[in-house]
């Protein structure tokens, strides 16, 4: 059970990543690989600041801003120099690898003895219900501090979702959505689409970096490799969310990304429990996204095929 609660919590932390991917891929139609680098960038920035004694909340905020900066660079490279979005993302992701090593000064930075957002909550739990307190949830014996962590993550994610929902319904947020939907139209209505794309990719990577910073604090270390495959991971979450929610309203798609992230993490945890080799995780994630991407097309073909058969009969 504590495995499930842990997966749930990590799923919520990674929901921030999914939200970032949702913003770049779905709102801006911008296939942004920067995420792979900015996830680690957030983790590295957050971890280094925490080790340097900075307040973990402030460190997480700086990680968010660092991610925004990385995203802004990608957006700038794309809009200013007309470089294809994928390539712009790859350039920044590659450059970030070196940056991350410099930020941490090594390839792995442990946080186990540091004060993080999550040790605060554990401390809070100890203060309230004592050391090693346990309780029963639906007949399962779980640690009280795990529940507090889960609650904290749930509330934080809810707040972030509400902020995003609100933002994308303001005048400027609406213009951003229109930029992804029909840039010619929104330019004709006086919006600088380049600025919108830069800002949008920046916000997206801010969320991705924050996700990295929080994950580093939760798992107790930052690693220069931890961003690898994260973009596809986030995309898988977004796709699962869309399949489950099946509603195009803004609030529901944001909610879907969160649900997708949690569910995907739970599925993976269960698969690993059943003996899935962790080394195979990335190829399975990639296959999953591949299938999810081609499935709608396949179903359409099948329908067409059925129709032609009916017509011939």
């Amino acid at each position: 059970m504590s495995l499930l609660i842990g997966s749930f919590t990590i799923g919520l932390i990674l929901a921030l990543l999914a939200l970032g991917i949702f913003i770049s891929f779905r709102i801006f139609d911008f296939p942004d690989i920067t995420a792979e680098g900015s996830f680690t960038f957030g983790a590295a920035t957050g971890a280094s600041l925490i080790v340097a004694g900075v307040n973990p909340l402030l460190a997480s905020l700086v990680a968010f801003i660092a991610g925004m900066a990385a995203g802004a660079v990608t957006g700038l490279i794309h809009t200013r120099f007309k470089i294809n979005p994928l390539l712009a993302g790859i350039l920044v992701m590659t450059a970030l690898y070196s940056v991350n090593l410099h930020v941490m000064g090594k390839s792995n930075m442990p946080l186990l003895s540091e004060t993080t957002v999550f040790t605060w909550i554990e401390q809070f739990s100890v203060n309230i219900s004592g050391e090693n307190a346990r309780t029963m949830v639906l007949g399962w014996d779980v640690a009280v501090k795990d529940l507090w962590l889960l609650l904290f993550c749930s509330i934080s994610i809810c707040i972030f979702c509400m902020i995003l929902w609100w933002f994308f319904r303001t005048n400027i947020g609406t213009a951003m959505r229109a930029t992804g939907d029909n840039d010619q139209m929104i330019r004709a209505l006086g919006v600088n689409t380049k600025t919108m794309i830069i800002a949008g990719v920046a916000i997206a990577n801010g969320f991705v970096a924050l996700s990295g910073a929080l994950l580093a604090q939760y798992q107790g270390f930052a690693d220069v490799q931890m961003g690898i495959g994260m973009m596809v991971w986030g995309l898988a979450s977004v796709i699962i969310g869309e399949a489950i929610i099946n509603d195009n309203s803004l609030g529901m798609v944001i909610f879907g990304a969160v649900i997708g992230s949690v569910l995907f993490r739970l599925l993976v945890a269960i698969a690993l429990r059943w003996g899935l080799n962790p080394n195979d995780l990335k190829i399975i994630t990639a296959l999953f996204v591949f299938i999810a991407l081609i499935l709608p097309g396949l179903m359409k073909n099948k329908r067409k095929f059925n129709l032609t058969r009916r017509n011939h009969a």
Binding site: F167, A178, L189
Partner: protein, 270 residues
């Protein structure tokens, strides 16, 4: 009002695909004038409108609108002054956003967009009032995505959006060409209504000579990236479709002679 001074535009210069789309276009349009632009395919009508709207930077010349030189202005900045409707019904609206969101975007054309609520409650009634006269039943479907509407409905909405805030200049580029004849005439009717009501300075490209004869107070005919003919005032009023057809024929004959001469010269000198 609008002043186009000797503008030139060459696409893909110094390549095999070089196209001299505009070779020295000069045009001056008075405030409140409604100009129909005719011309064969590829004569540079769209390019001229795009040059005014700032879709690309021109090679030479100046564009002045409302006594301001906007030659160096970006496309989105010019949108403060210019409303547009494109030929393709898909171009003018954001398909996955609702009708009301599209309208709300249009009511902020060229203005600062901040953190204010994008869909203010008090605007919804106004949206209903402006779409009701279309008689398309859209007032009850404001929350539906625009992508679900027909081409004609989308063009009608795009027209409302382009003129929601009165533009200094309205640019219409064959905005009924993709519609079936019945829908097209409805959209043209609406176009005329709005232009007359708001006394909009308008440049309307059309492939229909009938439209050009019926509408507006001036006709210009483009040919090979230049303004070949220009009719206004009484002259425009007297103009009939047959006169325009004759002019097209004349242009075609001239072209053939030019080609003939070119071939003759080639034979003699090569």
């Amino acid at each position: 009002m609008l002043k186009i001074n000797n503008i030139k535009k060459t696409f893909n210069p110094e390549t095999v695909n070089e196209v001299k789309a505009l070779r020295s276009v000069n045009l001056e349009i008075d405030e409140g004038s409604f100009v129909c632009v005719l011309g064969t395919n590829g004569s540079g009508k769209s390019t001229m409108l795009n040059a005014v709207a700032g879709t690309f930077m021109i090679d030479e010349g100046d564009v002045l609108l409302d006594n301001t030189n906007i030659t160096k202005w970006s496309e989105h900045k010019r949108a403060q002054l210019i409303g547009r409707v494109f030929q393709n019904p898909f171009s003018g609206t954001a398909p996955n956003m609702s009708i009301q969101e599209n309208l709300a975007l249009a009511f902020k054309r060229g203005q600062k967009r901040g953190l204010g609520w994008g869909l203010p409650k008090n605007k919804l009634d106004e949206f209903k009032t402006i779409v009701r006269p279309l008689n398309m039943g859209l007032e009850d479907r404001l929350e539906n995505p625009i992508g679900k509407l027909s081409g004609g409905q989308r063009q009608a909405l795009t027209l409302l959006m382009a003129t929601a805030l009165k533009p200094k200049l309205l640019l219409l580029d064959e905005h009924t060409a993709a519609l079936d004849p019945k829908t097209a005439s409805k959209v043209i009717e609406l176009t005329e209504k709005i232009i007359t009501r708001d006394r909009l300075t308008t440049l309307m490209v059309t492939h229909s000579m009938q439209q050009a004869v019926n509408l507006g107070d001036r006709i210009i005919m483009m040919h090979k990236g230049q303004v070949a003919y220009d009719f206004k005032g009484e002259e425009k009023k007297r103009l009939k479709v047959n006169d325009l057809l004759a002019l097209f024929d004349e242009l075609r004959r001239k072209d053939n002679i030019d080609q003939g001469v070119a071939e003759m010269l080639k034979e003699q000198y090569v």
